[in-house]
Subunit: 301 residues, 2 copies
Amino acid sequence: METLSDIGEDSLIQRLVADLPQLPSVIVGPGDDCAVVKGTTEGHHLLLKTDAVVEGVHFLRDAPPHLIGRKALARAISDIGAMGGIPLHALVTLVLPADLDVAFVGGLYQGMRELADEFGVSIVGGETTRGLQIVISVTLTGEVEADRQVLRSTAREGDAIMVTGRLGGSIKGHHFTFRPRLQEARWLAQYHWPNAMMDLSDGLGKDLLRLAAASGLDFVIEPGALPCNAGCTAAQAWGDGEDYELLFMIADETELMSDWAQSFPEVSLTKIGNMVATGQGSVPDFASTGWDPFVKDGGSA
Amino acid sequence: METLSDIGEDSLIQRLVADLPQLPSVIVGPGDDCAVVKGTTEGHHLLLKTDAVVEGVHFLRDAPPHLIGRKALARAISDIGAMGGIPLHALVTLVLPADLDVAFVGGLYQGMRELADEFGVSIVGGETTRGLQIVISVTLTGEVEADRQVLRSTAREGDAIMVTGRLGGSIKGHHFTFRPRLQEARWLAQYHWPNAMMDLSDGLGKDLLRLAAASGLDFVIEPGALPCNAGCTAAQAWGDGEDYELLFMIADETELMSDWAQSFPEVSLTKIGNMVATGQGSVPDFASTGWDPFVKDGGSA
């Protein structure tokens, strides 16, 4: 018998979604930060994202419940942003042990409500059911101007590889308190439309590999250029998950860098390498290759 | 400490969604079969539904995986139908134990894919993560003509209460093999637009109470009129969950009954009572009041 821990998440998803039939209304199906479909206001596409956090995997029950709820929604907002879009409507599914304190569940929801208010999101429905562990599954819709959406699959050879903020060590707290880079992503889509973009959820090393594969390219990274959080090594910046920073590609970063510094003086922006043709790339020699939910310890450093 | 099993599902949801702020684009927020929002093709509304099935609650692991996957999607299609709409795009979140057989997961997906094909649904994305038990969370979008949507909250005093098919005993197999009443619901919305409609998922007794509460009415049921499945008592037809039949209200059922018999000769349609003003109703004297995920044995008969 072949188990999920034998093959890992990416291989599983590849098998599941192979040859999935798609309606003509589907612009981008499985494989990007969000699905993109026709059918929202004139000149816009509808974005669809679903994301789940699981007790024992993404959080522990002794964490403050409002931070757990906040995180569940923040992850989905981050993905809508990574397409260049704005979030609109959320559906929230709660799987909850029957002996859970009602006040704890109220806390979960309060964290989501506060973040929803902050980002202009309406929680329009959801469902609750019983389970052995807490699972919060959030679906979020959004919209993006049809000529401004940013995919993973459209990076070009020679593009500069850019990363916002600093990476690594998210487990110390950032994974609960991060503010989705929605404003920054919208600004990029409007003023310096990147060739490709995604948010960093499973670690730079793993996510960059995914984006490069989607674009049919390789990459060259300058390990010394990685923007590391205080106390983190470059290997951690490369391998740790849950940074929720933006990873994007742009042909020429010169003008962007000065505009960015004026618009977001408190958020660093770093060029970490370049996209290159297949076979011309090199993977930095770090021990870790990112986080996988099905592999023990996630393969993380 | 007050636990979820103390207060039950309906009370929990009421507390969570009280005073949820809603964007102007939200037409129907929490509380109906689906949320309804603006922003799809001209003259239509967008429907948003999320629904989860959990191992040990909605299915056991020794069930055929394709039936488990089929059920997860079928439940959501049933809800889109109950609004008078057609389903469009699905997102699928799988929470899976790491030691699960890859072939089992393939079976889950195969069951969903086949039903998606049958109902013209595209699976456009999703996510997989690790957990202690299998959870399949499906989000489904749909659309409905803006002048044809059918809510729970718009039943009128005097309406006939109608039920499709036969009720009770779903646990014997129907809960896996039911065909969502999408075609029937669309036909109703087009030709005999009901005043109110929902699908029966938690048992007639519980779901009718919800619809009546949403409409600000009571009801009178003729217990002898309940369409019971073979081998089921009226109490089971009233209390058992997972029928996935349509419950709807219409001012005069006479013309409908003859049209229905011609269009759907193999599906029974039964008048089971009438909606009445608050304080004029009576709840049948059955032991059971439907299924609740947080209450031991679900309160079910």
